[in-house]
Amino acid sequence: MTIKSIILPVLAFSALAPAAHAADIEFWHGNTGETEAAILAHCEAFNASQDAHTITCIGQGGYEAGMQKAIAAYRSNEHPALIQFFDAGTLDLMLSDAVLPVSDLLPDVDWSDYNTGARGYYETSTGAMFSQPYNGSTLVFYANMDMLGEVGVTEVPQTWERVIEVARLLQADGHACPFVTDGHPWRVLEQFSARHGTAIATNNNGYGGLDAEYNFNTGPVADHLANLAAWREEGLVRLNADTAAGNYVAAFNAGECAMMEASSGSFGGIRAALGDAAALGMAPMYEGVERRNTFIGGASIWVMKGHEDADYEAATAFLNFVRETEQQIEMTRMTGNLPVTMTALNELVASGRATEPEFATAEMGVASLNQPGNENSRGIRLGFYVQFRDVFIEETQRAFNGEQPMQTALDNAVARGNELLRRFEQTYQGVALP
């Protein structure tokens, strides 16, 4: 075998390759576990379904890490054409001038087919969609019916009053962990305020302009957090740190805790761990408050600027592919994430599969997203919101471990959050909210 005989075929192949593929693009995502498996299945299926384009899907290990790497990559012009970002980064991205609204790239798509919660979060004031909702999830309530059955409870609690009633029964029966949460603001602040129809900041959570101010330190959110702190003192509510598993979902899956609020995207893992004992309902309300829609969680796909037309053709093809009903249903089946278009949900229901256990989150989750909304339940349009989440966690942890009262924690979080908003406003001076 001569060197020539090796080199020539390689050269021939590399010469042919560009002709066979219109574009090779990258798609960065931030998921792990079941959702990552579903994303990789989409990528493989897309590459197998056509031979004009090739997509390479690269996991970044987390939403925050993905965003950090995207910032570094964009500044050095090494960024991918498509990238998955999470809900909290929405305004930072909208004003970044690094992304192309998907409705500009794909003007023919019927964006009104996306469910209310998803549209409200990623839509501009003029109706343009900035990103394509992908692995959409929302907050739901999970109960271990085996454990609830031991104290004679057969229905999943719908209200906080009932949750605590059941928690007291469980505690009296010797359960150390009736209800578990991590106190993350997505669960205890954002989703709570949305479905109770109250805002966390003025200007309808920032939709009205960059001069919004946080105001959740009075009203329903403040009451709820004070309750959580009191219930934890009573031993009815447990935090990550109080569980042997160290994490609320793991503690629920291990049968250590009986109830929790968590993402619908956790359902795949929960079902694998608990089987039919796992029951779910919409996230609980306080009695006497009208239920509004919850926010969409999970992440959406953003198109980044600075690529060639051929890359955008490939990106368009991939975005169209994952929007197909069949692909959405496959994602739902594998992970518990929700179908994001109404067409996909309707077809799932029409096919009769929606009642199968692995699709349990679909109808309930979308119903939660499609509850009548108000001006405060569209979404969050607040700058440096990722950092604000850390501030909120830090301050409330200090309340949970007894360093300060919960009210002080919320006041501090509001004050520090407002500083972030003012700096964001200054950073994007002269940029209009789209």
Partner: protein, 293 residues
């Protein structure tokens, strides 16, 4: 010019050039950029950065979180090196006296040097786990006695223990080798004069060990400021409630997780000045170090 090993000065230049280029690229350029960014308000994705003068410094210096982080850093800088050097000194004195088992100990004590900071963090998370770790039995007696996941003081202690454990091997080697260079004759003379072992430690060994003690102090001080990062990131991520957010970790969080490049750059500049001042103070201390024997 003194006649050296190489003939021309260009040979010298060529030989030092690679390292100078590296230092320039990976130290002076980033430091320069940090100074530059600290005067601007920088957008995360670039474009539209605006000059704000010393606004960033005013913002950082009026931020209570910054001062808390600096205070924690200062406490950590005093507690961790004192323990790391104190314990190493005791071990080194014991090994130097040739107590039974000291030759084996000499080997074993330096093994932890081979473990990376992040790995130490992972191991200590298990060691100090409130449900499975060494303090779990105490938790059964007094529930809630030990939980570094929610109690800030407990978390701070775990970071200090891990840092000290990490620092002991190197300090031990340096101090032991220092002790072994102390001439036998001095010790023998002291014994003849009837000096007890403790007296010899205070009046002979420690004074003659000052160069090594000084070296370990300088390295430990700088190490606590910059090397604690791996431990914090793997063990506590700055929590709970920010109780283990030292300045170096705050800079990382602000810059990378919060996209506040200007704030992170500003704090980097302040941290650099802080370390420079600390080292300058230490070198004033060096006047008391006796290098001659």
């Amino acid at each position: 010019m003194q006649k050296g090993f190489y003939s021309g000065r260009w040979t010298y230049a060529a030989l030092v050039a690679p390292i100078l280029v590296l230092i320039f690229l990976f130290f002076y350029v980033p430091v320069g950029l940090a100074f530059f960014w600290s005067l601007f308000l920088e957008r995360p994705f670039g474009g539209g950065s605006q000059f704000v003068g010393l606004d960033n410094f005013a913002r950082v210096l009026s931020d209570a979180e910054f001062w808390d982080a600096l205070k924690r850093t200062a406490i950590f800088m005093i507690v961790a090196p004192s323990l790391a050097i104190g314990i190493s000194l005791m071990l080194a004195l014991a090994a130097d006296r040739g107590l039974r088992g000291s030759s084996a100990a000499r080997n074993i004590i330096i093994w932890p040097k081979a473990v990376a900071g992040a790995s130490i963090g992972v191991v200590f998370v298990f060691v100090f786990n409130p449900f499975l770790g060494i303090f779990a039995p105490l938790n059964e007696i007094w529930p809630g006695f030990w939980n570094p996941r929610i109690d800030g003081t407990d978390a701070f202690i775990t970071i200090v223990v891990a840092q000290v454990w990490n620092g002991i091997p190197f300090n031990f080697i340096i101090l032991l080798s220092g002790l072994q260079t102390i001439p036998d004759t001095v010790t023998k003379a002291a014994v003849m004069d009837g000096a007890s072992p403790w007296r010899r430690v205070w009046d002979i060994q420690i004074p003659l060990l000052t160069p090594q003690l000084f070296l370990t102090f300088v390295l430990e001080f700088v190490g606590t400021v910059v090397e604690a990062f791996g431990l914090i990131d793997t063990m506590t991520e700055g929590g709970p409630g920010g109780a283990t957010t030292l300045l170096i970790y705050k800079i990382y969080v602000d810059g990378f997780k919060a996209y506040d490049l200007s704030g992170a750059a500003t704090q980097t500049v302040i941290l650099m000045l802080f370390v420079l001042i600390m080292v300058a103070l230490q070198f004033r201390l060096e006047k008391h170090v006796k290098y001659e024997r």
